[in-house]
Every structure is written in structure tokens, then in C-alpha cells.
């Protein structure tokens, strides 16, 4: 029966491919409504190739790995060295800095300075200043571009995440990974083009919503797909108990054949798409387990990342991210939760940085040795930074949320390596030189992917929406 069905299936495909090449008018329209169809012309299994063809500019990066430090790591204990703040440690924070500015948990509290809790040193040829918390990243300092003048507009975690991911604090807008897929399509035929993974260690973690990788008003095929460290790596990826691959294939074949017959009767363009989505689903059922099964990784690679296997750690996720990058996944976002250091910052910084330092450096080195760093953009950073002022009401000294100045870090993807951009003031409060807004950040990463941020739009409620809303300038100063 297998061969019969396989034959029927081939016949069906042939027929609807024949149909697809007839009548360009209806095809164009159908593809507008359902972009997947556009690519159905050469072969129905092809993934969506993206709206922007050709690209607006030459792409420097083909994919992005975004190491999202959820909770908001302190810039003052990572990349932004402020001797003056150390000198003023324990002194009142000058009011000229804070007057009229938003605060979060420090509402109504006395504002005092707190200097860096870890020593800084210069690293690499470029002389990046970094703390002792990041020995591995310090060793690859010359690969890193550090932006020290980030600003955001949202001071609470939930809207700040939403703003960082979608360019607005209002829910229901597409996240940047969804925009990427919509604009560029996927290069990968058996994995989702936008993948999200999470890990946690450190202080009580902030929630992270599926809104952060939602496609909003874009078709939901552009949504990020979450990979899980427990149970099925992707929801419903495993066949039911008692159904082996061959039997699952039989069922998919029967579905495809019968859908093909049905198409002959009703001539429905969506059926072609559905058939290709069932093919993709079936391929994912094999390729996802292959992806997360890391038996073929040599021990020295595992050691380099600092993982022993599927342990749900950031390190393991970084290894998977590399494997996804190799397979053509367009946008990979790894959340590490645990950076919300309102109290006992010293202890929690050690835990959090201990979880991410080695693996971040390993990812950069591993991509480099495979020749992939040049077209993979790596981003490291959180939704905001932390106050130069101490927060002392919750235990040992910590820092509150801070939006006026913080740091992010990038590597690869056509960004200047060993380069530092922008400055905050002497206390690390306000970004004062070469300020980079979240919209600028978005414009820049779209640019690296070959997209003019003003031209990637989607009309919803009568308005042409963009990831960068109505703002954003490419930060030319960091482009290699």
C-alpha cells in the first residue's frame, strides 16, 4: 500500500504544481493572502523566501543569535567602568542626575551611589574594560563590539521586554524574529526559522511571555517556536505512543493523497499549502530529535561550552544554537533568566555570569572556527541596565532597573570587532555620547541582514507598521 500511496502522492503533487504555474493572477493573489504559496511554484516544500527580494543592501549577516540576558544585567559590573562612581561609593547620588527621572523600586528611597562590585581590567589588543566576572569573554575581547550608550523607554520588565523585542510596549505587534522571517524567509526546510530557548539560574527569575516571540499581526507562521529542555523539545513533535515513524508516514501519506483528491474536486489553493505544511511537519518530527541529540559532538566541544548534554543550561542552549545556525535557522533567541539583581548583586552576578560567560565565548569561538562568525550576528544584552544607585531594602546591596544608559555587546555579522561605541556620563547614569535607542538597535540589525528598516512594513489597522515604529537610525559607527 505504501507504493500505491506514494504514487498517488506524486501524482497529486504533479497536478497541483501544474496548476500553480497556470494563471499568474490568481497565484499572485493567493500568495498575497498566503505567502507560503509564492514559493510553491518551484517546489511545494520550499519554505517562505521572504518579502524583501532583492535585499535592500548587501547582507552582512545571514542569521542572528541573540543571547538575551533577561532581568537586566548591570552595565556597571560588566562593561562600563566608572571610577568616579567608585569614588562616590556610599555618597548621596547628585540630584542633578536623578531629578525628574523615573525610578522603579527606589520610589521614595534615599539615593546613594554604589561603585562597581568587581574589579575592571583591560583586555585584548583593543583594551576593552571588563570585570573579573567574564574571564572567557575577556579572552575574546577583540571579537566584541561593546555599545555603552544604550537607552530604552520602559522601566518595568514586562513592557521593557516587549519594547526590546517589538519596538513598542503595546502588545500585539510582531517580535523582531517574526519581522526577520517575514522579510527574509527561512533557509531551512525542516526546522522552524525562528527558535527560542530559555535557561535560568540566579535570582528569582522574571516571567517571560510568549508575547516576546509572537508574530503579532503578521501571519502566525512567523511566530518563534519554543524549544523545551523537558518533554518534547517542540510541542507535539513526537508521534503518539504505538505509532512508529513508518506508521506516522503512512498516515501523513494518506492525508496528503486524500487532500490531493479533494483539491481536484474543489480546486482550493490552500490545500497545496496544507500538503506542504504536512511534509514540513513530518520532516520536523525527524530533524528536531536529530538536532537535540548531540551524540556526534566531540568531548572537547562539550567541554568548550561547559555542558555535558541536555541539561537545560545556557551552555547547552548555546551549543544547540550553533547546531541550528549550521542548519539555517534564521533567528535564534536564548533567554537566560536571573539577571534581576535588586539585592545581593554580588552573589547573583557571580551566579549569572558564571552561567553565561564560558558558553558565550565558546559560541563565538566555535562559529569562528567553522567560518560562520562572519555571517552570524551575535547579540548579548538585556532589556535595560541597572542604577548607579544602591538598592538596599531587600537584603544585601543591589541595583534597581535603569533605562537611561546601559551596555550591549555584539560579535560577528559585519560589526566592528574589538570596538567600543558610545559613553555614559561619569556615574554611568545617562548615555551622553553616541546614544543608541532601541529603535536604532533594531534598524542596525535589520541593516546587517540586508533590510532597510523603513521598507519592511506591514499594513494593519490602516497603518504601515515597522519594527522601528516611526524612528530608528542605523548605527553606522559600529559597522565593520
Amino acid at each position: 500500500m505504501d507504493s500505491v500511496n506514494a504514487h498517488l502522492l506524486r501524482e497529486t503533487r504533479r497536478q497541483f504544481l501544474g496548476r500553480a504555474t497556470r494563471g499568474i493572477g490568481s497565484m499572485a493573489l493567493a500568495s498575497l493572502l498566503n505567502p507560503g504559496l509564492l514559493s510553491a511554484a518551484p517546489a511545494e516544500s520550499d519554505p517562505w523566501r521572504g518579502l524583501i527580494q532583492p535585499l535592500h543592501t548587501r547582507a552582512k549577516a545571514k542569521r542572528i543569535i541573540y543571547l538575551y540576558m533577561a532581568g537586566g544585567p548591570s552595565h556597571l559590573e560588566t562593561f562600563d567602568f566608572k571610577p568616579e562612581l567608585i569614588r562616590l561609593d556610599g555618597q548621596p547620588m547628585p540630584e542633578s542626575f536623578t531629578k525628574g527621572e523615573q525610578v522603579a523600586q527606589l520610589q521614595g528611597q534615599e539615593l546613594r551611589c554604589m561603585g562597581a562590585q568587581f574589579p575592571f581590567a583591560r583586555h585584548g589588543q583593543c583594551g576593552h574594560e571588563m570585570t573579573s566576572l567574564f574571564p572567557h569573554m575577556a579572552a575574546i575581547a577583540d571579537e566584541l563590539c561593546i555599545i555603552k550608550s544604550m537607552q530604552t523607554e520602559q522601566i518595568n520588565h514586562d513592557p521593557a521586554h516587549t519594547f526590546m523585542n517589538s519596538g513598542t510596549a503595546i502588545s500585539g505587534r510582531p517580535s523582531m524574529g517574526s519581522w526577520m522571517l517575514y522579510g527574509l524567509g527561512s533557509e531551512c526546510e525542516n526546522l522552524p526559522g525562528f527558535v527560542v530557548m530559555t535557561s535560568w539560574a540566579g535570582r528569582s527569575p522574571q516571567p517571560v511571555s510568549t508575547r516576546q516571540w509572537h508574530s503579532g499581526f503578521l501571519p502566525s507562521k512567523f511566530q518563534g517556536v519554543q524549544f523545551h529542555s523537558k518533554g518534547d523539545p517542540v510541542h507535539y513533535i513526537g508521534s503518539p505512543a504505538g505509532v512508529n515513524d513508518a506508521r506516522q508516514r503512512d498516515i501523513v501519506d494518506a492525508v496528503q493523497t486524500l487532500n490531493g483528491y479533494h483539491d481536484e474536486a474543489v480546486d482550493e489553493a490552500e490545500i497545496a499549502t496544507r500538503i506542504s505544511q504536512y511534509e514540513m511537519a513530518f520532516r520536523m518530527q525527524t530533524s528536531v530529535p536529530d538536532l537535540v541529540e548531540i551524540r556526534d559532538e566531540p568531548q572537547h566541544i562539550l567541554d568548550m561550552y561547559g555542558t555535558q548534554g541536555a541539561d537545560g543550561t545556557f551552555a547547552f542552549n548555546c551549543l544547540l544554537a550553533r547546531r541550528m545556525a549550521e542548519r539555517g535557522v534564521r533567528f535564534i533567541q536564548l533567554y537566560h533568566r536571573g539577571w534581576d539583581h535588586h539585592n545581593d548583586l554580588k552573589n547573583f552576578m557571580e551566579i549569572s555570569s558564571g552561567c553565561v560567560d564560558q558558553a558565550t565565548a565558546a559560541l563565538v569561538k566555535d562559529l569562528k572556527q567553522r567560518g560562520m562568525l562572519e555571517d552570524t550576528l551575535i547579540i548579548w544584552g538585556g532589556e535595560f541596565g541597572r542604577t548607579p544607585m544602591v538598592q538596599a531594602d531587600k537584603g544585601g546591596p543591589g541595583r534597581d532597573h535603569h533605562i537611561k544608559g546601559f551596555s550591549m555587546c555584539m560579535a560577528g555579522g559585519g560589526i566592528k570587532p574589538g570596538f567600543s561605541y558610545g559613553e555614559t556620563d561619569e556615574l554611568g547614569y545617562n548615555a551622553v555620547k553616541d546614544v543608541v535607542s532601541v529603535h536604532d538597535f533594531h534598524a542596525t540589525i535589520l541593516h546587517q541582514m540586508g533590510i532597510d528598516h523603513k521598507k519592511l512594513t506591514y499594513r494593519y489597522q490602516g497603518r504601515d507598521f515597522r519594527l522601528t515604529d516611526v524612528a530608528g537610525n542605523v548605527v553606522k559607527g559600529i559597522l565593520a
Binding site: Y236, N244, V266, T457, G462
Partner: protein
């Protein structure tokens, strides 16, 4: 594929290939071009206006400016606009070269012809009171069953098209059942209808379905999307709010055919009615459906401003089909909404009792004010709590205790305990009116800027005045204004959404924007006729539904020939019916119904069907375990599923259900591998398939072919073709052989799902027939409405 150059063009513009119309009409032909290309800098927003020129108002466009006239009616040579749009000089060309906008040749032709013909303006169609036009003449009145058809046919004839034949009876009963009650017909229902030769069989079927309690469930889905109904608050910890009685209110209101003006009044202002009933208070929970936060460090004033803005967006979208939300930071770019309109509209809601950040009870309490609906035992416990609390508070008030601290502590502990207890009750957040907070215009939407002018409740002036009872307009006045015969938008917006529900695409395509950037309705006279009918029939929703689904237009087949498809791919002309995939909830309901698993009980608390383990692991404050159901609640309809905004059930997400954090007027419809994985592997669909197989074995007859035919009738209401039987028989025989050999696999398979397989059914048989039923439940035809 030239059409695919910009995202904006995702909205198909078949118009660009059309010849110029006989007569250029401002609203239909000119306004969209101006709005799309010019209003951004020469439109309503005074702060963005360039050179002081605005083109949305005729007097302004014609006025002299630096010795020039943008538009001189009838004189192309003297019209600066014409010179600029034709200019080859990049410094002069309009729209500017770097604006990402440009005019097509056809658009230039339309503009110049319009100026040549006198540059007549018209008020925007949607802002004018709808009136009944004379019923249009048609050449073939025999097709017309009711006024809807007359308008449709008139436009078809004008376009040289004719209607499609009526669909066959099986398709009709399936279509009506999905559209009106969201469930497939049973095979007995299909048989009865197909065999009913009486002339009013169709109308009686419609009446039966309209009288079904499941009609309200079907209608509720779209209303709940608009009002963003969910069981949790959305921001940060996404805690439970408890709103199920509000959801049941909506279902019941549709079932009882509550007039839409009353439905509007009770939701916006049920609390302001004289001696509000419990039901009216529950209805007023509409004002409490916005996202709220409990995040530490959040500032109350910041979030109160967000809640106000959210309410403006939702109310304006749901009732007015307007993007008033765009005026939060500046005057609207395309429509005459000012920033003051936005905040004045928000001021209607300034009297709602609420806290900006409600975290005085820790992470776990509910969000007052709310009503509780306890059973008798729970009522008893609640009374005990309240008595104890009253006693303690009395002591504190009188300072009548040796250790005040200890009592205060006890009191706090007790409040916490009570709030824990309340979490287990059926509750519904309601609106309680309080002294209105002062509202200001927030310049650029910035809540920290207190320089803006103070505003009082008002509706946008260009939409007509509002009658008010007292000194300060209230939400009751707002509700009355929304449903006033003179309101140009509410009725149009509502009937247009009904049309979308029954014909697949709105008469005006953009359901949530009736402004300049929306789209001119395809059959404006029809839309106005329906709007007028709706209002003049006392906002009778079932009457409108009946009118639409008994029309000849509705009854057409959705099978379409290539020429018509080519000519009208989106079915804007209604020369046929549309087809569409069932909404997420109904994909599930259909499988449960076909399998016989479904529990059709109505209302009550939200339910927790199977969900992948650990899905809530990223939630915190508090951390959450998923309280998976046992027994019948596993098989309730999708409309009753627990709606966790930040982690909506993956089976619903896969089929495009919105998170309901924001007002959603139209769900996106996608076709993704996640849908295939869900239907293939989600245990609810596997269990449904196995239970369907049990029915096939028990009721399907003797031979394999008979069983297959029976299964097709149950799932698709039709006989299988011979080649379909062949595929299914092949699948069954092969899998039966395999499962006989691999008994363990069969055993493992039939244990999926909580409902046990019946004793005495051979596992290999059951598993093999389940392969057939899984195939059926995965078919495109199964999840589609034709």
C-alpha cells in the same frame, strides 16, 4: 511578482489594473490615494504638517499660499499639486523621493482627472449617517430572496456577472451548523434535512440553530476577541483575574438575543444603571478586561495611563471600527481624531475604581472589585472570614486590644487567607463607579508630562454631538451615543463583522478601520441598508443573522470556476460563497463532536484540558502548576478553555487564536506545520480519533468498506469516493496486520487519553481503525467550512 515590492502591497490592489472609472468619486477613488500618499505631511496632524498645506479639507487645498494654489478646480496648469506629482526634479517631486511612497500612473491619472472635473470633495463615507438608498433595480428578480440579494445582484449584473448556483443540501447544513452553532451536524440531522422536501426546510433549520444554546457560544468567540476576554491579567506575572461569569453573560446575551444597544449599555455602564442586577454588574466587567500589572517597581500613575489608553483603543475599535489609538501621542495622521479627542474619550472611564498597581495582597490575590459566586459551603466559609475580619477590624479601630501589632498581623494574615480562598471560587471582576480621576492630555503620550490640558469626557466632535444627562458626561451617555440612530459607525461596524462571519470577507474589508486608511466598502449601499435595518429593528442581532443566512447570496456554492476566481479571487463581488478554515476553538470542537467525546454543558469556570507538561514554567509571581482536568471537563468546548494571556494553550495558538492582550477584530489565518503537528500528535486529537474508532467498530457495520463509508458520513457528512475507500482500506489493512504482530504498540496507542478503551475491543482492530480516523480528522476538508 512585481506586486510584492512593499509590505503595504500585501493588501491586494487589483484596482491598479482597472480602467479609470466613468466618474471620479472623491471617497471611492481619490481619498485613498491622498490618504496613503499625502496626508502624512498634508493631513489632519498639525504638528506633522509641511508648508502649512493640508489636502484633506477642500478650502485649505484651494487656498492661496505664497502666490500658489495647491489645487485649482478645473485648471491643471494652475494646480501646484499637478506640477509636483508630475515633476521629474527630485527636489520638487511629490510624494518626496525619500518618503517610501510613490504614485502609480493610474493614481496620477485619477488625481488629475479629479482636479480637471472640479476637485469635488465628499465627507468620508463612514462618518455620514447611514441612510437607506432606493432598492436597486435588478434584471433577474427571480433570484432575490430578500433585500440583501437585490444589492448583491445589482452589483453583479453591473459587473457582467451572475450568481453561482445554490450549494447542495449537505453543504448547506454543514455551513449553517458551523456558522451558527460552531458544531458539525450529526448524520441524523443531515439525513433529515436532505430528506425534507417542504419549502421552508431551510428556514426551519435556521430557526432551530438560532434557538440552540450553542449559537451564543459561536457568537461569543468573536465578541470575546474584541473585548479581549481572558482568564489572566497579561502583564508580568499574568495572574488569574477570574472573569468566567462575564464570558457566560456574553453567551447568554447572544442566546437571548439581547438588543445590541442594551448589550452595549450593560457592558460599558451596567454599574451606572439604576439598581443594577447581578447580571448587569457582571456585564460591566467589560471595563476590567484590560491588561493590568502587579510588577514590583511599577508606578501606579504610569499604569493608570496605560489602562486608560487601552480602553480607548478597545472601545474605539470594537464599536467604532476606528483607530483612535493612533491619536495617543499626536493628532491622527489620516483621520480627524485629535490627541484631545483621545484623552477626552479616555475620561469616560476615569471613574472606574481600580488601582494602577494592585499588589497589596502579594502575588496571589484576585483583582478587586469583583463579585463571587460561591456554592453553599463556600458561602458559609466566606461568611466566617468576613465575620472574623469585621471583629478584628473593629478591635483595631477601637484600639481595644493589649497588643495592636499582633492583631494587625492577624488581620493581614486572615485577609491573605481569604484571598487564597477566593481564588478557588467562581468570581467576576466588575466595575464600581468612584469619584472620577483628573485626566489630562499627555503630550507625546508621556505620563510624566503634566503640562497637558485637563479634559472631561467627550466624544470626537466630528462624529456628532452627544446628549448627556448630567453635568459631566458618563459611560451611560457614551453607550447611548454609540447606539444612537445618528451614530455613523457602530451599526455599520457591527453588520460588517457579521457579514465577514458569514461571507468570509467584510463588505468593507478592513474590519477595524473605517477611516481614511481603511477600504471603501465594496457594496456601500448594501452596508448602509444593513446598518439601517439593524438600528431600525431595535438592534436585533438574530434578525440580522437570519437576514444574512437566509439570503440567496449566502446559499450559493463555494465551488468556483477558474474565470471567476481569476476575476474576483477574494470574493468581494459575492458571486459565490467563500470557504475558510474553522477558528481554533471549532477545530477542536469538531473533532470532539465527531468522536462523540464532546461535553456540551454550558458555562461555568474555565477548564484546563491536556496541555504539554512544563508549558507554564516561565511564569512566576507566583510559579504555576497546570491544574489539568479529569473527566468530562477535558472535553468541553474551546470557548471555555482557560485563556492564559502570556501562555495561551498551544493547540489554540497553532490555529491562530489571539492572546487577547489587545482588541482583535480579525484573526490572522495561517497554515503552518504546527497545525499539522497538533492534529497529528496532540493527545486530545489522538484520543478523539481512538474514540471515533470505537464508534466505527461499534456502529459502522460489518465490512471494512461499510465502516469507512460510515466514518465519512460521520466526519464529513458525505459518501467516500471509491478511490478514497481504496486509500483508507489499504491503510487499515496494513496497520491491522502490523498491530496484530506488534500487540504492545496497539496497547500503548489505545491507552492515550484519560477515557479508557472499552473492554473486549481487540486492541489491534481499535488501533488500526484509529489510523483511519486520525487520517479523517487531519483532512483539510474536516477543518474547513465550505
Amino acid at each position: 511578482m512585481l506586486v510584492l515590492v512593499g509590505g503595504a502591497l500585501l493588501s491586494p490592489r487589483a484596482a491598479s489594473q482597472e480602467p479609470l472609472p466613468e466618474r471620479i468619486e472623491f471617497n471611492r477613488h481619490v481619498r485613498p490615494i491622498l490618504s496613503n500618499n499625502c496626508f502624512l505631511c498634508h493631513g489632519p496632524d498639525k504638528n506633522a504638517r509641511e508648508s502649512g498645506l493640508r489636502l484633506d479639507i477642500r478650502e485649505e487645498a484651494l487656498a492661496e499660499r505664497d502666490g500658489m494654489h495647491a489645487i485649482v478646480p478645473g485648471d491643471l496648469a494652475a494646480s501646484e499639486v499637478v506640477r509636483r506629482i508630475l515633476s521629474a526634479d527630485p527636489d520638487e517631486k511629490m510624494p518626496p523621493v525619500d518618503s517610501e511612497r510613490h504614485l502609480s500612473e493610474r493614481e496620477i491619472a485619477v488625481l488629475t482627472r479629479w482636479i480637471e472635473e472640479g476637485a469635488a470633495y465628499e465627507p468620508h463615507w463612514a462618518y455620514v449617517r447611514p441612510e437607506l438608498a432606493d432598492a436597486p433595480a435588478v434584471a433577474t428578480p427571480g433570484w432575490v430572496r430578500n433585500p440583501v440579494d437585490r444589492y448583491v445582484l445589482h452589483d453583479l449584473e453591473a459587473a457582467g456577472l451572475g450568481p453561482s448556483p445554490e450549494a447542495d443540501r449537505v453543504t448547506l447544513i454543514r455551513r449553517l451548523s458551523f456558522d451558527l452553532i460552531g458544531l458539525p451536524p450529526t448524520s441524523a440531522e443531515v439525513e433529515a434535512f436532505v430528506g425534507d422536501a417542504s419549502p421552508d426546510a431551510y428556514e426551519r433549520l435556521v430557526e432551530r440553530l438560532l434557538a440552540s444554546p450553542h449559537y451564543g457560544e459561536r457568537m461569543a468567540i468573536y465578541w470575546l476577541d474584541l473585548v479581549r476576554y481572558a482568564d489572566t491579567v497579561g502583564y508580568h506575572g499574568d495572574q488569574v483575574r477570574g472573569m468566567a461569569p462575564y464570558r457566560d453573560y456574553v453567551i447568554q446575551a447572544f442566546n437571548e438575543n439581547m438588543p445590541f444597544d442594551q448589550f452595549t449599555r450593560e457592558q460599558l455602564a451596567g454599574d451606572l444603571l439604576e439598581k443594577p442586577t447581578v447580571t448587569q454588574q457582571v456585564a460591566s466587567g467589560f471595563n476590567r478586561l484590560n491588561m493590568v500589572t502587579r510588577e514590583g517597581g511599577a508606578q501606579a500613575e504610569d499604569y493608570l495611563a496605560r489602562y486608560a489608553a487601552d480602553r480607548v483603543r478597545t472601545t474605539a475599535t470594537a464599536w467604532l471600527g476606528s483607530s483612535m489609538g493612533c491619536a495617543q501621542c499626536h493628532d491622527h495622521k489620516f483621520d480627524p481624531f485629535t490627541i484631545k479627542d483621545f484623552y477626552s474619550f479616555g475620561a469616560f472611564f476615569a471613574d472606574i475604581e481600580e488601582e494602577g498597581v494592585q499588589n497589596n495582597l502579594g502575588n496571589e490575590g484576585l483583582f478587586p472589585p469583583f463579585l463571587t459566586f460561591p456554592d453553599d459551603a463556600q458561602r458559609e466559609s466566606l461568611r466566617a472570614y468576613e465575620e472574623k475580619l469585621a471583629r478584628l477590624e473593629g478591635l483595631i479601630a477601637l484600639h481595644d486590644v493589649p497588643s495592636l501589632d499582633a492583631v494587625e498581623q492577624e488581620c493581614r494574615a486572615l485577609k491573605r487567607e481569604k484571598s487564597q480562598f477566593e481564588l478557588g471560587l467562581l468570581t467576576s471582576a466588575i466595575t464600581v463607579p468612584a469619584e472620577p480621576r483628573m485626566m489630562r492630555v499627555l503630550p507625546r503620550g508621556n505620563w510624566m508630562d503634566d503640562t497637558g490640558e485637563v479634559v472631561t469626557p467627550a466624544v470626537p466632535a466630528f462624529l456628532g454631538g452627544m446628549w448627556q444627562r448630567g453635568e459631566r458626561p458618563t459611560r451611560l451617555d457614551l453607550a447611548a451615543w454609540l447606539t444612537d440612530r445618528d451614530n455613523p459607525l457602530t451599526a455599520r461596524v457591527f453588520v460588517n463583522r457579521l457579514w465577514k462571519q458569514y461571507f468570509g470577507v467584510g463588505i468593507a474589508r478592513v474590519l477595524d478601520d473605517f477611516g481614511s486608511q481603511g477600504e471603501w466598502p465594496k457594496h456601500p449601499e448594501l452596508l448602509d441598508c444593513l446598518a439601517v435595518e439593524f438600528m431600525e429593528r431595535g438592534w436585533d442581532v438574530k434578525h440580522m443573522v437570519r437576514l444574512l443566512v437566509t439570503s440567496a447570496a449566502y446559499r450559493q456554492t463555494s465551488v468556483v470556476d477558474g474565470t471567476l476566481k481569476e476575476r474576483d479571487p477574494e470574493n468581494r463581488m459575492i458571486a459565490r460563497q467563500s470557504r475558510f478554515r474553522l477558528p481554533a476553538e471549532l477545530v477542536r470542537d469538531n473533532a470532539l463532536r465527531v468522536s462523540g467525546l464532546i461535553d456540551l454543558s454550558l458555562g461555568g469556570r474555565s477548564v484546563f484540558p491536556y496541555q504539554p507538561a512544563g508549558y507554564y514554567s516561565l511564569l512566576n509571581f507566583p510559579t504555576r502548576d497546570y491544574p489539568e482536568e479529569h473527566g468530562r471537563n477535558l472535553y468541553r468546548r474551546g470557548v471555555y478553555m482557560h485563556w492564559q494571556r502570556t501562555f495561551l494553550h498551544p493547540g489554540l495558538v497553532a490555529f491562530d487564536a489571539p492572546s487577547r492582550e489587545e482588541c482583535t477584530a480579525e484573526r490572522v489565518v495561517s497554515n503552518s506545520p504546527q497545525q499539522a503537528l497538533t492534529l497529528l500528535n496532540d493527545p486530545i486529537y489522538v484520543e478523539a480519533a481512538r474514540c471515533f474508532a470505537e464508534r466505527i467498530l461499534a456502529e459502522g457495520g460489518e465490512s471494512a468498506d461499510a465502516k469507512i463509508a460510515w466514518a465519512y458520513r460521520e466526519a464529513l457528512s458525505r459518501q467516500p469516493e471509491a478511490r478514497e475507500v481504496e486509500v483508507m482500506r489499504g491503510l487499515y489493512e496494513e496497520h491491522y496486520r502490523q498491530y496484530l504482530e506488534d500487540g504492545a504498540a496497539a496497547e500503548a496507542f489505545i491507552r492515550i487519553g484519560e477515557k479508557p478503551a472499552p473492554e473486549g475491543m481487540a486492541p489491534a482492530q481499535l488501533a488500526a481503525w484509529s489510523s483511519v480516523s486520525r487520517t479523517l480528522l487531519n483532512l483539510h476538508e474536516t477543518i474547513y467550512r465550505y
